[in-house]
């Protein structure tokens, strides 16, 4: 279809499109040598993790050996899911080894192996299971500018190295521009290696789906086996991060699940967050479809923070409740700057006006949870603080009052 598009433009006398430059992948897979490693978290990062990597040749046996820092907890897990990535181009095979029964807040050294070829020297830390001061990164849209993506990846590796409380990255989607392009995914996975610190620490990723992440490759890269891709993650006992899927039906089953999830989680967690791709209070584009299905639920259950992407800018709204500013409302941050051209936000919008923030520039958002405070910073590639704000945890009385109110449409 791209070829057809180009022919159409040429026939219509439009100046020729700039020739597409084939992206250069840094790490090329060879034989059964593990490359493109990634560490994935889903629902229980204190006890579970998926170690993923690629090889050029599938091989007979792919496994992970893990060892806790004190040497007392060791194991070997054969990759439960292996296969060839969908798509044309150089053959590339994925391996997903799902580790369970891990110890919380523990360093694990890893060795990846496929048919005797190994990659060692990698490690990660599981999330704590108890209430503890932790940090989380949020970002999205790493899809278009390889240079900027590599810059941001290195920046995140630097943060991981410098900040011992930093646990992982919640990614709001749009990893590549063309979801069905194995070439682009290969490049992304290769660039993702840059998030690994010099001493081998992996940055765990909690991946959401973006609108450009169409097709089967997304599930093959991140070990999702169906299109559902919405779930909740408990971090350090008091933080509940709900990953939603703005690219599937936002009403129906997902909305029903979300309501049930919020109903259960709100009373049990000090902090309730959501991440998804299409913004509901956007700074640039039109609001996502989920505006009518999710916002009433967010507001009814007093979500603390909604993390959004897609808009390619930096934004933090005022607290919003029932379509207007309210100190008890939900704040929406975003909107994607991990490697994509940045847009100029519409700062005049009421929810970005006084008390809110809007700007542009590559960035990642750092969430620092400490007791009853959540300190948020939007950091540029050089670590410069572009925006910051502190949230206080909602009181039990506030939450009880909110739960007694009916949900209202925005």
């Amino acid at each position: 279809m791209k070829f057809f598009t180009r022919v159409l433009f040429a026939l219509l006398g439009i100046a020729a499109l700039a020739p597409a430059v084939t992206p250069f992948a840094q790490t090329k897979a060879e034989g059964t040598t593990p490359v493109h490693w990634r560490l994935l978290w889903k629902t229980d990062p204190a006890h579970e993790a998926t170690v993923s990597w690629n090889t050029a040749v599938e091989g007979e046996t792919s496994l992970v050996r893990y060892r806790s820092a004190d040497g007392e907890h060791t194991g070997e897990v054969v990759a439960q899911r292996n296969g060839k990535f969908t798509g044309r181009g150089d053959a590339l095979h994925y391996h997903h080894a799902r580790l369970t029964d891990l110890r919380p807040d523990t360093r694990y050294d890893l060795t990846l192996e496929t048919d005797g070829e190994t990659k060692s020297g990698l490690w990660f830390r599981t999330a704590p299971a108890e209430d503890k001061e932790i940090e989380l990164l949020f970002g999205g849209d790493s899809r278009s500018s390889q240079r900027d993506r590599q810059l941001m990846n290195r920046s995140m590796a630097g943060l991981l190295h410098e900040r011992p409380k930093l646990l992982g990255l919640a990614h709001g989607g749009d990893y590549v521009a063309t979801g069905r392009s194995l070439e682009q995914w290969t490049e992304w996975m290769s660039d993702h290696e840059l998030t690994t610190t010099e001493d081998g620490q992996l940055l765990p990723v909690i991946p959401a789906r973006g609108n450009h992440d169409v097709g089967e490759l997304f599930g093959e890269v991140f070990d999702y086996e169906d299109d559902r891709i919405y779930f909740a993650t408990t971090i350090a006992d008091e933080i509940r991060l709900i990953t939603l899927n703005s690219e599937t039906v936002t009403g129906g089953d997902q909305a029903a699940w979300l309501e049930e999830e919020l109903q259960e989680s709100r009373p049990e967690h000090r902090w309730l967050l959501a991440q998804y791709h299409r913004p509901l209070y956007p700074a640039v584009k039109v609001a996502g479809r989920a505006l009518r299905d999710w916002v009433p639920l967010f507001e009814k259950y007093r979500l603390d923070l909604a993390c959004e992407a897609d808009g390619h800018c930096i934004k933090r709204t005022v607290p919003i409740l029932f379509g207007k500013p309210d100190p008890e409302g939900v704040v929406y941050i975003g909107e994607g700057g991990l490697g994509v051209g940045q847009r100029t936000p519409k700062s005049h919008l009421w929810y970005l006006d006084e008390g809110g923030f809007a700007s542009r520039g590559n960035h990642v958002q750092l969430l620092h949870f400490s007791g009853d405070s959540l300190h948020y910073e939007s950091l540029g590639p050089d670590g410069k603080v572009l925006d910051e704000h502190t949230f206080e945890a909602r009181s039990e009385e506030e939450i009880e009052e909110a739960l007694a109110e009916p949900a209202m449409a925005p």
Binding site: K2, S144, T250
Partner: protein, 282 residues
């Protein structure tokens, strides 16, 4: 073979009026979209050259959209008052570029179907260009009425319905959300997602069937149904998102306007249909 009777002056005036209003509405809808949120043309102009974009600055790309929006508004006025084929061809060309750019940008389920989905709005101006300059003879010897626009209209309507039908059969999440919202807002019934999926599948089958039928059967009832359904589905955007989504309804005017024009044309020229029109049209 006897000469077919030409449609009356009143009928053709009505067909021309429907097409003028249709094209004007779609121009206004696209202009609003340009101003509010931008179109895929912006993404193409601003996109990274490594990925096939033109690498323009944001300001330059927005300026193109702004100029296009004003041109579309002016075109809407001209189309209503005094349409002419060069302008209509330009309008058709711009809508074609928007559809092609949407395919290039991607980022949606089946975005490769963007051009077929938008076939009606691409061809509506062309059909108007074909039909408008001609005048009906008032002499007792009725002239042969050109039917090329009918062929184009049938193909465009068929392609649009087939493309939407295919998306429905693929259970487009957007379409499912629209059905759920319509059920809740209009009827007060909280439909389950599985029921909505079943309904959508049936809708998809019907869309595919009528898309095929319109190519072979010159029936005003068939075209009338397609006009009705095109209107309903265009209006579903407003049901879902409120009047803030009016541009979504306007830009889809041809989804109901073009089949409506066919319905009017066929309903008032039965003799035309029974003689040679079908053969000529096909």
């Amino acid at each position: 073979m006897s000469s077919p009777a030409a449609p009356s002056v009143d009928t053709l005036w009505l067909v021309r009026l429907v097409l003028r209003v249709t094209v004007a509405l779609q121009c206004v809808g696209l202009a609003r979209l340009c101003w509010l949120y931008g179109t895929p043309i912006f993404s193409l102009l601003w996109g990274e050259p490594e990925l096939g974009g033109w690498g323009w600055s944001e300001a330059a790309a927005l300026q193109v959209e702004n100029i296009a929006a004003w041109c579309l508004c002016v075109s809407a006025l001209i189309v209503l008052v005094r349409p002419n084929w060069p302008l209509l061809l330009l309008v058709s060309l711009w809508f074609t570029l928007v559809g092609a750019a949407a395919t290039w940008v991607g980022g949606d389920m089946l975005s490769e179907l963007s051009v077929p989905e938008q076939a009606t709005r691409i061809f509506a101006p062309i059909c108007l260009a074909m039909i408008d300059p001609r005048r009906v003879s008032t002499s007792t010897e009725p002239k042969r009425w050109p039917s090329v626009w009918v062929t184009f209209a049938r193909i465009a309507v068929a392609v649009t319905f087939a493309a939407h039908g295919w998306k429905a059969l693929c259970l487009s999440p957007t379409f499912i959300d629209y059905i759920l919202a319509a059920s809740q807002d209009l009827v007060g019934y909280a439909m389950s997602q599985s029921t909505a999926e079943e309904m959508l599948w049936i809708i998809g089958v019907v869309d595919m069937i009528v898309a095929v039928l319109i190519l072979g059967i010159a029936s005003p009832w068939l075209a009338g149904y397609m006009a009705f359904w095109g209107f309903i589905t265009a209006a579903s955007r407003i049901v879902y998102a409120g009047w803030a989504a009016d541009y979504e309804f306007l830009v889809r005017a041809a989804n109901w306007g073009l089949p409506l024009a066919l319905a009017i044309y066929w309903s008032t020229s039965k003799k035309f249909i029974r003689t040679s029109d079908v053969n000529e049209s096909l």
